[in-house]
Amino acid sequence: MTRRIPAPALAFAGAVALSMALAGVAWAYHTNFTGAYCNYNAPEYTSYFTRDGSMTVALRARWEGYQWGGGCWNDDDVDQSPGDPVERSDTRGEGPDCSGFTFKVWREDLDTSNQGAWQWNMLRNVHGPYSAASFLYGVGAPNSTYPKSGLIRMDALASTDHIGMIYARNADGSDQVIEAKGEAYGVNIWTRTYRGSSAYGGVRRLGWDA
């Protein structure tokens, strides 16, 4: 005797199987870091914020990963999601991208008209409203274009494609830049010559207390 399987059950099983099969390729790189670790907790208002303090925020992201459109990382000095496909904002990997990193290190508000400072927990998954290009053009109340020759630590150099923050000046005229460089690079400090490149402009976060 044969027993017919009900259509809804067949469709259910098919959908699960199809979804899992389609996701099979993605599964190889989906570490689902953001799903496992990240949160959407509210940031903490900061009444006194300094370049030194933002440096410390940035340093906790060193050696962590890069996620295009991302903004969540832990502080274990390991990229938890290496080798994700590039140019994909849905890979749920660890780390920020360049503009998300700058937003979080500069402790900005999601409201672009607000210049106030907010301490975002590193596990708060937030990218912020700015792209590298919008930083370049000084979009938003906290951001301003600034002459490149006058930039100091924790100011930024931005192009239409990328932004990095100045960590230190070097004696040879280059800069140490702390940046989320790309999937293969993650977040770290590198020596760069963005200051002299005509593709880059200077950007300053406004409102530092020191």
Binding site: F12, G35, A36, D52, D76, I152, A171, G173
Partner: protein, 472 residues
């Protein structure tokens, strides 16, 4: 009027998909839960990640003065970064530091406390060197120890401490060179294009990293052999492209590298050296035979490495924040981290007995040839247009060939200045040619009496040769 209804069989076929669709929706939802995990997009307490103790973080930066004028006051400035105390309402770490200074390069160091200069934008921890030390004809040597007073962690800068201190050389009689204001748009044309490749993935194409995620990154570096052969590091394709002098086409040499921005040195009849600056194992120096087979690798105990050059005893690497040249291999033997730190030198050795000193301060570049007896010859290059990085400073003829970037907020070119015993011998400007990113300080090489530039456009990468008018 009767409403038209499907016939019973048709209604049955509609019922089945409706039920199936419901099942499919539930199935898709179940798959989503399986794939994404219950925490995806959820508000709440996530599992605790394996974070490290933030109190471990301490880092310091310092711009060494390198070359001082006679009588010039000498203040050593540092920035130090560590987390603020947990119970503090302040944003900065509770830091302190001491700089140890002495005249010349021998004898005991004097300890100077670093004081916080709250008005300074950079170099907030400062110590003024006493005039009797600062005015020494032999310059000063020094190192600093910076501390996080809350956690008790500390960092020594340079890492070698008293065994390999930083130096500031006194340079009497610097030859002034006034560049004035830079006139953009008057650049020199190349003598010859000695290498070119289009962007692509073909056998002779150059790899380009880029897209929406990042800016264009092209070949990181290049070298020019004594015979004129040009070797370009095509790191995206994990290989080097070699254009032998007079050869009709390039040939490639596969290299086991990680594909990120890297520097290149050596070549010719010797091995190729690659400095990997990004990735889990970086910074790392790798050695390859001429056929590309791996010969060895040397982990580098530096925070940031940016330049690879060949010194008198082997490859040396410019590292930050110490701003010293670290030996990685000496006479064929790889050095361990301790030996690297202790062997670090503040200046780049260009022969067994001579070094080149270079520092950009504001719109001024100071350059010197330093020998066993101290500064042999020095120049002070002044510009009213801002100067960025010094790309090249190599001994040439009776002086130094200097390549420095000059820029405004919208334009940039390279200024090439041949510095001679009596002053500038020749100077000319070169286009930036920097559409794609390279290693930061590896756009130029000097070989014989020709200067070579690694350049790029939206269509490809090239190396141009500029013959210098005064032979070495």
């Amino acid at each position: 009027m009767e409403t038209l209804r499907p016939s019973p069989p048709a209604r049955r076929w509609l019922r089945l998909p409706a039920a199936g669709a419901a099942g499919a929706v539930v199935g898709l939802a179940a798959a989503a839960v399986l794939l994404l995990g219950p925490a995806s997009g959820a508000v709440g307490d996530p599992p605790v990640p394996p974070a490290l103790d933030p109190a471990r973080i301490i880092d310091a930066t310092h711009v060494p003065p390198v070359l001082t004028l006679p009588g010039e006051p000498l203040t050593l400035r540092y920035d130090v970064y560590c987390p603020p105390p947990a119970d503090s309402s302040r944003d900065e770490c509770d830091a302190a530091g001491t700089v140890y200074v002495r005249a010349g390069d021998a004898g005991p160091f004097s300890a100077l406390p670093l004081n916080l200069d709250r008005r300074a934008g950079e170099g907030r921890w400062a110590a003024r060197v006493p005039p009797d030390i600062a005015r020494s004809d032999d310059g000063v040597s020094y190192y600093a120890v910076l501390r996080n007073r809350t956690a008790g962690t500390e960092v020594t800068l340079p890492a070698g401490g008293a065994a390999a201190p930083q130096r500031a050389y006194a340079a009497a009689g610097m030859i002034p060179v006034e560049l004035g204001g830079h006139a953009f748009g008057r650049t020199r044309a190349a003598t010859a294009r000695v290498f070119s490749a289009v962007w692509g993935d073909g056998p002779a194409d150059a790899g380009l990293e880029g897209g929406r995620e990042t800016e264009p990154v092209g070949p990181g570096s290049f070298v020019v052999g004594a015979d004129g052969a040009v070797t370009v590091l095509d790191q995206v394709h994990h290989r080097a492209l070699v254009q032998a002098a007079g050869a009709p086409a390039v040939h490639d040499v596969p290299l086991d590298i990680n594909g990120t921005l890297a520097d290149l040195a050596g070549g010719g009849s010797g091995p190729l050296w690659v400095l990997e600056t990004a990735g889990a194992d970086a910074p790392m120096l790798k050695e390859f035979r001429r056929d590309g087979s791996a010969q060895g690798e040397v982990p580098l105990g530096t925070r940031t490495a940016a330049q690879l050059r060949i010194g008198p005893a082997g490859p040396i690497v410019k590292e930050y924040p110490s701003e010293q040249w670290v030996p990685a291999v000496e006479d064929g033997a790889a050095l361990g981290l301790r030996a690297q730190r202790r062997g670090a030198e503040p200046l780049r050795a260009v022969s067994a007995s001579r070094q080149v000193a270079v520092v950009r301060a504001g719109d001024e570049v100071r350059v010197a040839i330093v020998g066993p007896g101290g500064v042999e010859r020095a120049w002070r290059v002044l510009s009213t247009t801002p100067l960025a990085e010094v790309q090249l400073a190599e001994p040439y003829a009776d002086g130094v060939l200097l390549v420095v970037r000059t820029y405004t907020d919208t334009r940039a070119e390279f200024e090439v200045v041949q510095l001679g015993a009596r002053g500038p011998v020749a100077s000319f400007a070169l286009a930036s040619d920097d559409w794609a990113e390279t290693m930061p300080l590896s756009r130029f090489r000097l070989s014989g009496s020709s200067l070579y530039q690694l350049g790029s456009t939206p269509s490809g990468v090239h190396v141009d040769r500029f013959d210098l008018e005064v032979a070495s």
